[in-house]
């Protein structure tokens, strides 16, 4: 009896410790970014593009990078969803199921997940060169799509797999086709999980620097067309941190802070949406 109580207490303590470490680590990162960044944060930072001499400490902001990052991540997330959603539906038992193709696709996605994003950047760059294009919003979006796709498809598949076979069969039994069942039942039931998957991918996409380094380029002007280069927040952080001027480094932290806030807003909004759509979910 005594031994079991000790065991129970020990593992509980272990869990609390792990949670504490994770939370403290995250809070520390946020605190440092905030502490170092807030001082340089100004209205100007988020409403202006860099003016002449910005990287030497003169006036301006990172509006170019904010808009660029949003355009890149929103575009890539949309593109990735277009592919991830059919893939995750197809991997279900109702379609490919336990076939060899399905397990091959799953394994490939897991592999793709592990590839460093600089490789996607380099791959995207090669493709751009081959097509005779230069670094651009479109190129960046495509590279980011590749980065986001595996994470999104796998997370979506988890969500969709949770939908019970009995539930789907209830729809089939009434004469629903597979597609009708997917659209009206599976999608509804798995929507909170699907939203989470999209959000995960968006977070990964908007924070990624390496894949857009060669493919999207960097510019101080605001994005105008799909074929112009665009700036992005992660690269803005990178370039500003790389200068020897403390005020510019402060702005790097401010930029990181802005990135954090964007992800936070998206996360809260999608959580609210998730709560709304899960009202009808059956357990």
């Amino acid at each position: 009896m005594r031994r079991r109580a000790v065991e129970e207490g020990f593992f509980r303590a272990l869990m609390v410790l792990a949670v504490a470490l994770v939370v403290v680590g995250l809070l520390l990162i946020m605190a440092i970014i905030t502490a170092k960044g807030v001082g340089s944060l100004s209205w100007e930072m988020i409403t202006q593009a860099p003016q002449g001499g910005y990287y030497l400490g003169k006036s301006g902001g990172v509006l170019n990078a904010i808009l660029g990052s949003l355009a890149l991540a929103v575009g890539a997330t949309a593109l990735a969803s277009i592919f991830a959603f059919p893939v995750c539906l197809y991997l279900q038992q109702d379609y490919a199921g336990q076939s060899r193709l399905a397990s091959f696709v799953r394994t490939s996605l897991d592999l793709l997940w592990g590839i460093p994003s600089i490789v996607y950047g380099a791959f995207g760059f090669t493709v751009l060169l081959y097509l005779g294009m230069r670094a651009s919003l479109l190129g960046g979006m495509i590279a980011l799509t590749l980065v986001e796709l595996p994470i999104m498809a796998r997370a979506m598949e988890e969500a969709v797999r949770m939908v019970s076979q009995d539930l789907k069969e209830a729809s089939y039994a009434m004469g629903g086709t597979r597609w009708e069942t997917m659209r009206k039942i599976v999608l509804r039931q798995a929507l909170p999980g699907i939203l989470t998957a999209v959000l995960l991918a968006f977070g990964r996409g908007i924070g990624d620097a390496a894949s857009v380094l060669f493919t999207a380029g960097y510019t101080d002007s605001l994005p105008r067309t799909l074929l112009d280069p665009v700036a992005s927040l992660p690269l803005a952080v990178f370039f500003q941190l790389g200068t020897p001027f403390p005020e510019v480094q402060g702005r790097a932290h401010a930029s990181a802070f802005i990135l954090l806030v964007i992800v936070l807003i998206i996360s809260v909004v999608s959580r609210m949406m998730g709560a709304k759509v899960s009202k009808y979910s059956v357990r």
Binding site: D94, G97, E169, Y172, A173, M174, G175, R188, K279, Y280
Partner: protein, 250 residues
Amino acid sequence: MPHISVRNLTVAYDGQAILSDVSMDIPDRQITAVVGPSGCGKTTFLRCMNRLIDMTNGARVTGQVLIDGEDILAPDADLISLRKKMGLLSQKPQALPMSIYDNVAYGPRLHGLRDRKQLDALVERYLRMSSIWEEVKDRLHTPASRLSVGQQQRLCLSRGLAVEPEVLLCDEPTASLDPVSAQRIEQRFTELKQDYSIVLVTHILRQARRLADYIVFFYMGELVEHGPADQLLNDPRDDRTKAYLSGTIS
């Protein structure tokens, strides 16, 4: 009213026979009870009749199930119209992730009904038919998952009826219900057999006695005996049926 004949139906999961060589006719406009010990293949038998067995990996089905002479096990059978014809009530009530109203309207909408007035009338008619209307009429647009299990099963019955099937396949429909809800479902069945052929899988012999006009007894994947309820219950021919009825095998 379609007529169902089963000819040499054999089902194997991963090479192991679960139903072997079942042949029989299902009487029209009657309640046919399918009885037998757990694992004898009752659910499998039912799932062949609306081809839900297709969804099971590794199941191999041979033989024929003829509905009005047409073999529904043929690879080119029209599954949509088959499943529209064969309503299913499963053992565990499975509410769809939507409102009570949308649950009942689901089938009719699949089959093309869009008109709001017609849908309203239809939803009310079938909710009344499974005697749940009074309980839910003021909350038709709340999630169906909030209903009690017994209410959900009656909702599923309405939902199945709303597709306007001609045959009802019921897999232990009262197994997860309290006695009162079970009784309500049973009452519905006795009324429904005027218009439908009902195939009722049940574990409860007393339920079969109460409801069935015709009884089919399976044992270990084999169709042992089938016949009118009176005859099979009072004068069984096979020793295994006798043993099952007396409770020595279950």
